[in-house]
């Protein structure tokens, strides 16, 4: 009786684990792929390698102490984390940051959005093989990080806002530096577009790859540029304006098909629109105090609040429950990348292995935020 020997070429499905350490998974993400030849039959994401218990920490630190911890979540766009939380607490305390603080907040948050998208573009292009775009994006990002460093002393984990407003007054030469950046930047975006947008190879790698239809996106809870590229017109800056966004004039790019190419175009256009906001903001920063009277000990009244902002990656929401003490009773962070990553599986089914890398890049995930 002969037994059938299964060799490598007999089996149809192989399971390959991509990660947790892998040059293209943007952090410690493990994707378990079931492949039939080159086609992906199933994809399962394993996360939690970077779980640090931020939400638990929130219950044991005071409201003010907790703000720097949040920088470490989405460490690429730390300013947004700070903004969302400070605004949530200000909502609970029923105070409003003064106009000067609001304008500076908008300015720095938009610079932060540009810097996050630049990093996204660099790493996404690098994964697909265009090495040079990566270095060009980082050259521009340096300029933004210099502004942050001059303002608050840190480039990455900035802790730039406080509950009630700002901590630091603007430094001499801030407006000048921002104006120089705003003047140069649109031509740089044009440079990236020249390299990628009409490039045959780029189109081939991103067109019709990782399609997420409008209904799928809404069902999965996807937010941010991924949702807008699928055709849903929703940007929290326009629908529920916070900080001083209502005073600014900007557009929201909407895509059509929801494939990787559309997400690329939406984010490129968002960079341009953010530059527009920054150029408007830097001209009309009002004078006045930079921080509202909040008091040394922050004790919001009993109750809960949910406040969401439009972070570069999507809807960043904070659900804070207070029990009238100096420490929150519960802080919940709704990470945009966490919910977006759920959609990876259906975006990748039926595609090839090389497309998985492209799709992970296009979702723009940060594991610090996903795992908290």
């Amino acid at each position: 009786m002969t037994t059938q020997e299964h060799t490598l070429f007999d089996s149809n499905e192989i399971t390959v684990s991509m990660g947790p350490q892998h040059p293209s998974t943007h952090g410690v993400l493990q994707v378990k792929l079931k492949l039939d030849g080159e086609r992906v039959m199933d994809a399962e994401c394993v996360i939690g390698y970077l779980h640090r218990g931020v939400e638990k920490l929130g219950e044991h630190q005071t409201y003010g102490q907790f703000v720097p911890t949040l920088d470490r979540m989405d460490y690429i766009a730390a300013v947004s984390n700070c903004l969302g939380y400070c605004e949530a607490i200000e909502k609970m305390l029923e105070v409003e940051a003064p106009p000067r603080a609001q304008y500076v907040r908008v300015l720095l948050t938009e610079l932060n959005r540009i810097s996050s998208h630049l990093l996204w573009l660099g790493t996404h292009a690098l994964d697909i093989g265009a090495m040079t775009v990566f270095l060009y994006c980082f050259r521009e990002r340096e300029e933004i990080l210099k502004i942050f460093e001059n303002y608050c002393g840190a480039r990455l984990t900035t802790h730039v806002f406080r509950i009630g407003g700002l901590q630091y007054e603007l430094y001499d030469g801030f407006e000048e530096q921002v104006r120089v950046f705003v003047k140069d930047f649109p031509s740089k975006v044009d440079e990236y577009e020249t390299l990628l947008t009409e490039n045959r190879i780029w189109l081939g790698r991103t067109r019709d790859v990782g399609v997420l239809t409008k209904q799928e996106a809404i069902d999965m809870g996807v937010t941010g540029p991924c949702l807008r590229a699928s055709g849903v017109e929703w940007d929290i800056r326009k629908s529920n304006p916070y900080a001083a966004y209502a005073d600014f004039d900007f557009d929201i790019p909407i895509g059509e098909k929801g494939d990787t190419y559309d997400r690329y175009l939406v984010r490129m256009e968002e960079m341009r629109q953010s530059t527009r906001i920054v150029s408007q903001a830097v001209e009309k920063i009002p004078d006045g105090p930079i921080r509202a009277k909040v008091g040394k000990i922050i004790k919001p009244p009993q109750g809960d609040v949910y406040h969401a902002i439009e972070a570069p990656k999507g809807e960043l929401g904070y659900y804070v429950v207070s029990d009238a003490s100096t420490q929150p009773y519960r802080v919940r962070v709704r990470p945009p990348s966490y919910v977006n990553l759920q959609a990876l599986r259906q975006m990748v089914l039926g595609h090839m292995v090389a497309d998985v890398v492209a799709v992970i890049g296009t979702l723009d995930i940060v594991l610090g935020e996903i795992d908290r």
Partner: protein, 231 residues
């Protein structure tokens, strides 16, 4: 124990972490649909200040009452956000109604999370919904006892999948009908649910650490021992 108390910086020392007396304590009991009066602050002599809960009744609530009677426990507006408290038995039907009702459709699930109220031995599950038409949010809350389970919202929104997995991972709440309810952020064989209030912040699953990392965790408190026992 003194040693224990100094370590725990829990709200215990700050005073009150029992929930506000009235409207919240009514949950779980069979309650008529009259919204509870706004809570009086247990103030130390000062007049009630701070945000108040305003009752919320509008066509949406009326439609809800008509379609799913007796499910609403309370509905109020607090700090500009509308809150709807419902009973846990048919929470998915309430969500489905909210998603596709003609008055104001809340077709986007922003977030789903939970809070532990150990004094009531309850978890409060919170759904945050958003409407694309009116750009409004509503927070839907429901309470389950610590030993009870809840219907999964994945039948209404597939995107609740990972959100509920995280709630299960952190709190231990089981969701009926969830396609893949297993731990997501913590390792699969971790014992203990960290975000519960009886899980000390320095607690670790020492067995897991010993087995997988081969080292002694060195934490004072560990799962399996009662709170008052030290090493």
């Amino acid at each position: 124990m003194a040693e224990e108390d100094e370590g725990r910086q829990q709200p215990e020392e700050a005073g009150s972490h029992e929930p506000v007396a009235d409207s919240t304590a009514d949950r779980g009991a069979e309650k008529p649909v009259v919204p509870a009066p706004p809570p009086k602050k247990p103030a130390s002599g000062a007049k009630p200040r701070g945000p108040q809960k305003e009752p919320w009744t509008d066509p949406l609530i009326e439609a809800l009452e008509k379609t799913l009677p007796d499910q609403r426990v309370d509905s109020y507006t607090f700090l500009g956000l509308r809150h709807l408290v419902v009973r846990r038995e048919r929470v998915t039907e309430v969500l489905r109604f909210l998603r596709s009702n003609p008055v104001e459709a809340f077709d986007f699930l922003s977030d789903e999370t939970a809070t532990h109220w150990p004094d009531d031995e309850e978890f409060e599950i919170v759904y945050v919904l958003f409407s694309f038409q009116t750009h409004n949010r509503v927070i839907v809350k429901t309470r389950v006892k610590e030993w009870e389970s809840l219907d999964s919202a994945t039948s209404v929104w597939p995107g609740a999948d990972w959100l509920e997995r995280e709630i299960y991972d952190m709190f231990g709440i089981r969701f009926e009908g969830h396609p893949n309810l297993k731990r997501i952020l913590l390792p699969e064989d971790w014992v203990g649910f960290p975000l519960r209030k009886d899980y000390d912040i320095r607690l670790q699953d020492v067995e897991w650490v010993r087995k997988h990392l081969g080292i002694e965790s060195g934490q004072k408190f560990y799962v399996g021992k009662a709170k008052h026992e030290d090493d």
